[in-house]
Structure formats: structure tokens, C-alpha cells
Point group: D2
Chain length 141, copies 4
């Protein structure tokens, strides 16, 4: 987490991410977004695995919106950015960006907004984000 | 294409589509959406492959927004729906839905809006949708 | 299942399956193989989902070997073939092939051998293939 | 590259890699293998992208064989190992391993052998591995 509360995570583009158009397949940005959210939670002390097994919750995606500005290509180095936009009782809205990094230059390739809801592992119904997690997320805003 | 100009495409959920939460991974709905758009174009007489090689164009996704209502699970039978919402000069807005089908019952699992732009294969810049394609798309509205 | 006990399953190649080399990504043939095995089991009366939830078993892959002869491309129509090569107590060896179909012509793109082991859902340890399933599989040899 | 000429590459398991069985989907190990081969080539000074665009060659997979010993799960830290087993004129055989790392402990999850062939970008036919690349690969044996 850097000074302006943006979390960054590097992603490299491999063959598996690209398609016959020569660029990263549009759905795969949502994979990159998920990796970045997972590493952001890990940086706050929470693994998805532990949340599921120990706390009994999952953060599931309720909504996702993404806009594409320029394509990523094979071997590109990307920087994924995570920012909490809104922290609700059982949900949060997360802004996510994908940048291509070439030396000093950064190009915004895609940005999006993802709404995740805290659900109980058993019922799959929304539940309050536990306080100890909320306070960490609050600090990350 | 049925009477109300909705195109339907069946999709079966396999292990590859699911994740450790026991449900279809959220990014994979965009794969299902793309399959449905591809088959809808094919039903109008256009394969992506031919568009790329013969006409020299691609339809690339500019924006995608999706909302999730209920999870799909392993072995589920889905029905993907494609409807043209708006047909512009070089772009179109497509409404897409994913339904779970169980006998007579259909449950809406996710819906979304996808904006695709017609781009030249060479320049990757937006170009007019060729007239012969446009007239077919118009009929599909 | 046709007369010579080969099960066939059609697969269409979409953008999601291809990579920047313009061909189907090599790992994705294992996805196609899995779809074909799943549909073959379904044709015998068993869904993976029911096996997991009702019988409490999974067929997990122990070994996979694949050789590639020619690449599949966007929009190709493939025929996936499943043949039981050897039926053991807790495992079976399955021959799998991927053919490209163009009108009357069929081209072998890849073939492989996959060893699957029947494991208990709880322990993840190998267990006997239940008799009622075995007899069906035997008929499919 | 460490002293015994094994190249190592770390991989983290995300939701996208897992399936409804709660473990990494069997085909995804081939994705991990490809990432490791790509990073190994990069460590020798060659990006896949540059090989394709500048040298006009691709390394395509001709054969892959993999055996699974234990499943990887969500959030697992894996170490992927790459070793050149045999360096031919237009091909090479590469041994690949996936290990789970927990503190000091390493568990072999899967190993395999991948045969890659050097092909011309234009003809997709096998061609000699260029000498400057061969000498680097030779050093990596």
C-alpha cells in the first residue's frame, strides 16, 4: 500500500491470457482484477482461503463494469491498481485499473468498478463484514 | 432467432468453468457472453474468422457491465440471450443474459450490457460497420 | 455411442480458446478432453455433479499425455473422441482424440491418453469404482 | 538459474485456477508450465514476443505428459522447475515440476515432460533453433 492508499500488483501477460486477435482476451482482465483484489486482501492480513475456512465468509462479486482503452499484448508488464471507493455494511465498491508499464511510461489499458458482497459460506446470503476486517479496510480507503 | 428477435444459445457448465467456491467463476460469464455473440453473428451469416480474414474487421469489446443474481454450478444448463439494444455507425450495444434452465423453470443468473466497436484489422482503429452487415444486424434488432 | 463404442462430442473453437499464436492454446485441449469425458459419462447416465453429491466420488486425473499434430484455429469445428482403453479396479485409462471436421474431411489434431482414478469425496483417496458404474463402463469398452 | 541448472519460478494459486473440486484444475498445470518456460527463456535473454516478431520463430508444444501426485489448493505457493533434458536440432525436451512450498517444506504436486519444436512464424514448419539461442540453451542444460 503506498502513501495515497492505492494498492499495486504486477501482472505479466502470458500466451494463456491472449487470443487470436493478438491481444489479451477481454474476460481475462477480470482474472487480473481478482488477483489484485486477492493480493490486496492478503496485504491487509487476510487470505481468501482463511476467510473461507476460518471466518466462514467469501467476498463474492455482485457487479462488475469495465471499460477498455488500449489492448495489452504478449509479454506486457501490467500494474493493477486497487482502491476502495465505498465501504458499506455487507459490501464494498472497488475501483480497479490495469496499466501497461514500459520503463517510465504508464498507459491506462482498462479501468472498472467491482462491487463485492460479503456472504456466509453456509447460506451464501449477505452478512456484515466482520469488524476486525472492516477496520482494516477502512484504513485502506 | 425467435419471434421477439432474441437469439438464444445453450451453454453447459463444466469443471473448467467453476472455482473453489463451487460456482462458476465470475469472469467466465464474459466467455459465455462472447460465445453467444459469436453464435449470434454466425446465425446472421458471419463468422469471426471470416470477418477477420475476408472483411478485415474485428468487433472488439469497448465496455462490459455485468450483474450477478444467482450462481451457476457444475453441470448446470444455461441459456444465453443476445439482444441488440442500440446500433450505431461503428459500434453497437448488446444486452446479454445468462439463464439457468431446469425443466420448465428458468432463473436469471446474470445480465449485462456489452458495447462492441468495429475496428480495422490493420490499424485497430474504429471503422464503419460495413453496410451488408449493418442491414443484417438491423433486422436482428 | 456409435457401433464401435467410440463416443463423439462436438466442440467449437471460440476466441477464449485461442492465443496470440493464432491457434488453440495447448492446455485448452485438456479442457476439451474433460468436456468430452463428462459428456461421455452423462451419456452413460452419470453427471459429475451427481457422482460428487450422491455417490460421494470424483474421477480425478492421475496422468495425462497428449501429442499435437496440427493446430486448431478460431471457429474450427472439432470432434472429440473418447474410448476406454483399460478398466481397472479404481482407475481407467481413456484414449482421447481431437479431430477437425470440414465437410466430409476429418483431420486428427491431437490425441492423448488420460488415466483417471476414482477417489472418495471425503478422503480424496482412491476407492473402487462402484459396481453399477463399472458395468456401464464395461459396456462402453 | 541456480547452481544445478534448474530454473525456478514462483506461482500463486488464485480462484481462477481452481475448480468445484476445490483444487487446481488439471489443465491449468500446463498454464503454469508455460509461464515457467517463458520466464526461463526470458532469463536467458529471449522473450516469446521478440522471438515471434524479430527472429520469426515460435516454440510450439509437440508433446506434453504430466503426472499428478497431490492437489494444489487456493492460495498455495508453488515453485515451478524447468530443466532441459535433451536439446535437439529443431526441438528440445523439457522436464517440468510443480512443488508446493510451505515454509521449509516442499511437496511435489506434479511433474511432466514437454517437447517443444522451433517453428517458423510464416510456414509453421519446424526449423533449426538459431545458433545464438542454442548456445544459451546449451549452457542451461
Amino acid at each position: 500500500m503506498n502513501s495515497d492508499n492505492k494498492f499495486n500488483w504486477p501482472v505479466r501477460v502470458y500466451y494463456e491470457d491472449t487470443d487470436a486477435g493478438g491481444i489479451v482476451f477481454y474476460a481475462n482482465y477480470l482474472k487480473f482484477f481478482e488477483r489484485a483484489r486477492t493480493e490486496w486482501l492478503r496485504s491487509l492480513g487476510y487470505s481468501q482461503h482463511a476467510l473461507l475456512d476460518t471466518v466462514g465468509i467469501l467476498f463474492v462479486v455482485k457487479k462488475a463494469a469495465i471499460e477498455y482503452f488500449a489492448p495489452a499484448k504478449l509479454d506486457d508488464e501490467l500494474k493493477l491498481v486497487v482502491v476502495v471507493e465505498r465501504l458499506g455494511g455487507a459490501s464494498m465498491q472497488i475501483r480497479q485499473e490495469a496499466w501497461r508499464i514500459e520503463g517510465e511510461q504508464a498507459t491506462l489499458l482498462a479501468d472498472g468498478m467491482v462491487t463485492v458482497v460479503c456472504v456466509s459460506k453456509e447460506s451464501f446470503r449477505p452478512c456484515q463484514i466482520p469488524d476486525h476486517i472492516r477496520s482494516k479496510l477502512h484504513g485502506a480507503q
